[in-house]
């Protein structure tokens, strides 16, 4: 069984294994005594939880964990785990890294194509199995989730939160919540389909993955993307929540704030927040949304 850590991974390849359990889970509401010995302060809590679980043997049921180069914390965690395994400090599954390359240049697409080929070979997947993985994943791409209900909708942007706890705070204020958790953002294969029957499935996956990159290293207009998403889900309000450790998405906050103001969408901005959402964020959200509803 294989699990993964990070965004912009080749979901089609993982599907083709028939043995992917999805993102590695975490619990951020507990101490991390071992992980805190090895990780510096800027590592987000989910990395601490994963490393603590690794150290505790909680991930021993996995054969391998695939880390993404598409997220700085994920890729650094990979190197730390390799080192700790080499030192004998931890055991657990085999760490692997996928070389996500997001720059809008042919050399990056080609590099990622080679990375997909290497990964497929390492996982023992031939081209026929890859084609089946593409077909199965394309089917998932057609079934985009909808947020149902009559209540006004609040879009959650900024740092994807650890789980649905902030969504629950929004719903407790009588609103519907949209926007992915961190794990959902990693699982999302994007709406863009991979070309089927291309004759070179690795190259086809690389082209799609490159064009549809969604992580914090994706090259796109993050303000436009947020505005478009707000329009698509018909958001009546937006909550921009940024964790203390966020060092990528936060750079687009001024542009996103301005774009939402131009679109006349009421926005609550919360920066440098605790990942556990235990720092008064519930009260801030309730006050903001109840005043809007009134």
């Amino acid at each position: 069984m294989i699990a993964y850590v990070g965004p912009d991974l080749p979901q089609d390849v993982l599907t083709a294994t028939g043995a992917c359990s999805g993102p590695v889970g975490w619990n951020v509401d507990r101490p991390f005594p071992a992980a805190d010995r090895w990780l510096e302060s800027k590592f987000p809590l989910w990395t601490r939880s994963i490393l603590q679980d690794w150290s505790d043997g909680a991930l021993d049921g996995l054969d391998a964990v695939l880390f993404s180069r598409g997220d700085d914390a994920a890729q650094r965690l990979y190197y730390y785990i390799c080192e700790l395994r080499q030192r004998g400090e931890i055991a657990g599954p085999e760490p692997m890294i996928f070389d996500t390359a997001t720059i809008q240049r042919a050399s990056s697409v080609a590099h990622m194509g080679k990375a997909i080929r290497r990964l497929a070979e390492r996982l023992g997947i031939d081209d026929d199995a890859l084609e089946q993985g593409i077909v199965a994943t394309n089917a998932l791409r057609l079934a985009a989730p909808q947020v149902c209900g009559d209540a006004p909708l609040c879009l959650l942007g900024g740092t994807p939160p650890p789980d649905a706890r902030i969504h629950a705070m929004i719903e407790a204020a009588g609103w519907r919540a949209a926007g992915p958790t961190l794990a959902q953002s990693w699982q999302n294969p994007s709406d863009l389909r991979v070309e089927e029957g291309s004759g070179d499935p690795c190259a086809a996956i690389a082209r799609q993955l490159h064009e549809a990159a969604q992580g914090s290293r994706a090259f796109r207009d993050h303000a436009d993307a947020l505005s478009a998403q707000a329009r698509q889900v018909r958001a009546s309000a937006v909550l921009l929540w940024f964790a203390e450790e966020d060092e990528a998405r936060i750079w687009h906050l001024p542009a996103q704030r301005d774009a939402l103001a131009d679109a006349n969408i009421p926005t609550l901005i919360l920066t440098r927040r605790d990942w556990r959402a235990n720092d008064g964020v519930a009260e801030d959200i309730t006050k903001f949304l109840k005043e809007l509803k009134a």
């Binding site: 090895w38 510096e40 914390a73 190197y79 390359a101 990528a248």
Partner: protein, 433 residues
């Protein structure tokens, strides 16, 4: 990584023992004036680049470059960093944004020629950065937009081939150490960058010139490496890191030029003279210290503060010994590939296990280090990266380690006396002083 010693902004000045140190500082001051004349006054095409990008390409094409880290240090030395942090806050960026990367962006966003060094930077031909951390593409992308220019990012790909003793093989077996695919990707990117520069500036790239430059850089870094070997084995340490850094880094900004090669040789000669005469950075060297992290540009006197009182001498920082393993390359008839191997892991070997801890533990042993002080910038994951595992490696090798929470360009949480006292207390607590 390349950085540069900046003049005092806060804290205390450092003492200079070598004649060549003043020569290097004077050269850099004149270079700054020449750079301003070329870029600002005469409007020559230029580029803004990160320190870990292939400067050699620009040198071959005679295109001036302004390095982001150098510009940040320059702004910091002008005591403008606090002002620009306020500017970023006014624009809506949180106060914990990466400061080392973003001072130049802040200066541009401030759009205040009266306050800005050089009146602010004009529009560059291009901005270039390797994507070593997650913030840099956003900072450079927005900086390019604010300047009306173009951002040329370069990948910092994953590295699966792990050799903890990379530094013993990187000079000749660089293709194996740094991985053929990673080198090939960087060569492809460099060729795209060259095309962009040729199209925008009309200047031509000559691979024969690169070959010659690479040979000259090997000669230059060979002198620095020779001096680093001597400093590691000499007792007492002939030159503190406060002088190692400018005499390594200033020539490294100009690597391969006639001046840089000559200066590296002169520095090597002065070091050797001091070794031969038994001259020490301190009169009573008793404790040999290692400094891990970027230089504290706002307080260079920090490094020499405990020499007289405790005989504690900072004998090692990464800049000088890095010259050997990360710069010197057997060209093997492929200067572009050799250059790529120099650049494609310049940051990684300093911030990721096993390369960082493998090298630094080996260096501590080579230099007879008694204790280590590590800089831990609170708001910069990249600069923090690898420090805890390296500290554990050093402690396991018998080297006590003190971590200091401070920033290399932000003096706000730095107090010279308190920091010196912290180091003194640490040395006392570990039975060294």
């Amino acid at each position: 990584m390349n950085d540069i010693i900046a003049p005092r902004a806060t804290g205390q000045r450092s003492r200079k023992d070598l004649a060549c140190t003043a020569v290097a500082s004077a050269y850099q001051k004149q270079f700054g004036a020449d750079l301003k004349r070329r870029v600002v006054d005469e409007g020559e095409p230029f580029a803004i680049v990160q320190a870990d990008t292939p400067h050699e390409i620009f040198h071959v094409m005679d295109i001036p470059i302004i390095t982001n880290q150098w510009w940040s240090a320059y702004i910091s030395a002008k005591q403008l960093s606090g002002h620009y942090f306020d500017v970023m806050a006014r624009h809506g960026y949180p106060e914990n944004s990466c400061k080392y990367c973003s001072l130049g962006l802040a200066c541009t966003l401030a759009n205040d020629p009266k306050t800005a060094p050089w009146g602010g930077l004009p529009k560059p031909t291009v901005l270039v950065a390797r994507l070593t951390c997650d913030c840099i593409q956003h900072v450079f992308g927005q900086w390019a937009q604010a300047l009306g220019s173009e951002f040329f990012p370069m990948e910092a790909p994953a590295w699966e081939h792990k050799e903890a003793h990379w530094f013993q093989h990187s000079r000749s077996a660089w293709r194996r150490v740094y991985e053929p695919d990673r080198i090939a990707l960087m060569v492809a990117e460099m060729r795209d960058l060259i095309s962009l520069l040729e199209n925008r500036t009309g200047r031509r790239f000559d691979e024969a010139k690169l070959h010659h430059l690479m040979e000259r850089i090997n000669e230059q870094e060979g002198y620095i490496w020779e001096a680093a070997q001597a400093i590691g084995s000499a007792r007492p340490c002939p030159v503190s890191i406060a002088e190692q850094m400018p005499n390594t880094m200033i020539p490294q900004w100009h690597r391969g030029s006639d001046w840089a090669v000559a200066h590296a040789r002169r520095f090597r000669d002065e070091v050797m003279e001091r070794v031969a005469s038994g001259a020490g950075a301190a009169d009573n060297e008793r404790i040999r210290l290692m400094w891990i992290g970027a230089g504290v540009w706002h307080d260079p006197g920090f490094y020499q503060a405990l020499e007289e009182r405790l005989g504690a001498v900072f004998v090692w920082s990464m800049y000088m010994p890095f010259a050997g393993p990360q710069y010197i390359r057997e060209l093997q008839g492929q200067p572009m590939d050799a250059l790529a191997s120099r650049i494609c892991s310049m940051n990684e070997v300093l911030h990721l296990p096993p390369w960082m801890n493998g090298w630094m533990t080996s260096e501590a042993e080579r230099c007879g280090i008694d204790a280590c002080v590590i800089l831990l910038p609170p708001d910069n994951r990249l600069s923090q990266s690898g420090t805890k595992l390296t500290a554990l490696s050093l402690e396991a090798a018998g080297v006590p380690v003190l971590a200091i929470d401070a920033d290399m360009v932000d003096a706000a949480n730095w107090n010279h006396d308190a920091m010196v006292a912290m180091v003194a207390d640490f040395l006392a607590a570990r039975g060294l002083a």
